[in-house]
Symmetry: C2
Amino acid sequence: MSQHNALYAQSGGVTSVINASACGLIQTARQHTDKIHKVFAARNGIIGALTEDLIDTSFESDSDIAALRYTPAGAFGSCRHKLGSFEKHRAQYERLIEVFAAHNIRYFFYNGGGDSQDTAYKVSQISQTLKYPITAIGIPKTIDNDLPFTDNSPGFGSVAKYVAVSIREAGLDVASMALTSTKIFVLEVMGRHTGWIAAASGLAHEKEGDAPHIILFPEIAFNAEKFLERVQQCVKKFGYCAIVASEGIHNADGSFISESGLVDAFGHKQLGGVAPVIANLIKEKLGYKYHWALADYLQRAARHIASKVDVEQSYALGKAAVELALAGKNAIMPIIVRDSNQPYRWSIGEAPLEKVANVEVKMPREYITEDGFGITPAGREYLLPLIQGEDYPPFHHGLPQYVQLKNKAVAKKLETSFQV
Amino acid sequence: MSQHNALYAQSGGVTSVINASACGLIQTARQHTDKIHKVFAARNGIIGALTEDLIDTSFESDSDIAALRYTPAGAFGSCRHKLGSFEKHRAQYERLIEVFAAHNIRYFFYNGGGDSQDTAYKVSQISQTLKYPITAIGIPKTIDNDLPFTDNSPGFGSVAKYVAVSIREAGLDVASMALTSTKIFVLEVMGRHTGWIAAASGLAHEKEGDAPHIILFPEIAFNAEKFLERVQQCVKKFGYCAIVASEGIHNADGSFISESGLVDAFGHKQLGGVAPVIANLIKEKLGYKYHWALADYLQRAARHIASKVDVEQSYALGKAAVELALAGKNAIMPIIVRDSNQPYRWSIGEAPLEKVANVEVKMPREYITEDGFGITPAGREYLLPLIQGEDYPPFHHGLPQYVQLKNKAVAKKLETSFQV
């Protein structure tokens, strides 16, 4: 079998473990140099592929590649760019082939969420439509946990752990201060369409009285009256109330809470988030002193508190992508299969990219308690395995030592440029 | 020497390591039962002392007391309540003596910041003014790092580590996304009056291009034009700009930035923080897509990423408090003395409570770069030792296992109640 090169790229919002997939992929490819000569990385996702902005990862040392396993964010840059349809944007696909051919690329690995798997699928089809022998494998990734087929999405488990740890810690803080000071704490977490991340915070609630006392899900229309009543009950019973609110919560009419309240001095909306609106509502109606936090990127970048399970799965998916490609598979995505809950066991399966792309999986209603403010035992059973284990990065001088790759460019071979 | 009881209380905003001081104090007292019969804890700081709401820590197992070392927040509850002057509020002091006498309390340990040391000092004076033999020792604590005499304040080092780790991680995230998405990230951190915490984020900036690119200090009047120019430079040079803003930053006229922008639907101000105002200013003037985070209590509760040096110092100060009291000292506060920077060595000293109370130490101007946007080598030299080492709490089922004490109440002996 002759040697060809592979192209790997990262796409969409990055996570604390997407580089672990890159690590698994590159380390595995390095064990198969008889088939994969070099792994190139596209700088900034598919954009780098289109603009022939490629990185030669063979210049990275084995130890630097190993360090990707514990380095958050996208080591090669990511992008939010979706390939248009083949019919309307044929030039993009022809350009990709031009780049692939110029650099002897026969394997394409695209690491991303639902939109990105659509791109991976479209590339996989080039082999037929444009008669270029490319093998395209998608590698799943998204903190939103909304990909189909896979039991869970790499990146989600670590965000889940971060929010559960954070609300536990902040809850203890508020409990200490509640008698004479802050009684309300609102933590806003990501999840515009689904409440997976908000739900994960519920793992910290192991017994009555534990934070979080209330979780606000995008799946449940916000009912201010019912919410305030519950807040009041919590403060009376526990002395304080710790709330986790998904950024995507909305009113019964569908309008986002985050858009309902804040305007800046110029009258512009959408400045703030959900947390200040919720906190202020409580202050207005119940008079309690509040604090609120908005974790934003901290939650998806927090490699220092990543879930070990998440890291291992991310790595395994990168590894599997290479193995599947070398086994002659095309247009598929390796996935996580849950083999058992107790003890938690998982394995790698595969799903057809055609059916993965653009499907958004919702959180089952039965994971949310009937009152809409917490998670059920079923939800806990699903979520708990995903935050298991710690996988601390190495620290030096008090700070995590994340790797910065050389990212040496591959010399361009094409004389044409391409406008994305 | 006859046996008496001790009273310990926590005061002011809690930290991720104040319980480590409680741990050091109680463990040390348990080694001197010939002198200290029991350690009582006042529930919710001085309020518990005034209302005879005491906790008998002797019901806590040795292992639960040991677990205080890695449990954030205030295990006995804290408060924001300052004792009035002896002249005007004599009844409060007489009440304290009544409670002390009823429970054979001869040692008083007050764990808090500047305001709290004022309380500790006032209690220490009872021995003279009201002829009750009480020994009062202050134990320092504040994330604000603004206590005099002590080289640094327990609690600060861990917040410092949290913000430096967080901006490093979020910075990598933004760097990955910057080409096609977010170019600006603003992390708001605590520090209403001093920029110690904001400054600590600068430790993550080890070489050119590292986040944070800009730090906004309360010590430096905010100059929008100069700031925007720097943001623009960063984006041009590095592709993105990661900013850490202290909540206390203000305009040249002294008005807080946090109050300058946001109003809610009812026209109320002070809803949001500094971060959204700064982020929106950049969007308005430079057009860049932004994200922002407000860590709030997460930063001071984040025991999972505490500084080992901070934990050890907090423990040592609690231990020293007992040793000083048993050595016959009164009206003092054990402090951290920096013996050398390289290698970092510290020891315990002492300072008179009379001079500690109500003094707020500012950050030296020479720790801030001349342009006002970063920290100098001198600042780094001071800050770096304080974030050294990790001291992870034990995890169980994926989450840190923090202890919740029994906090069994001491039976009341007084027939009178007291309104605080």
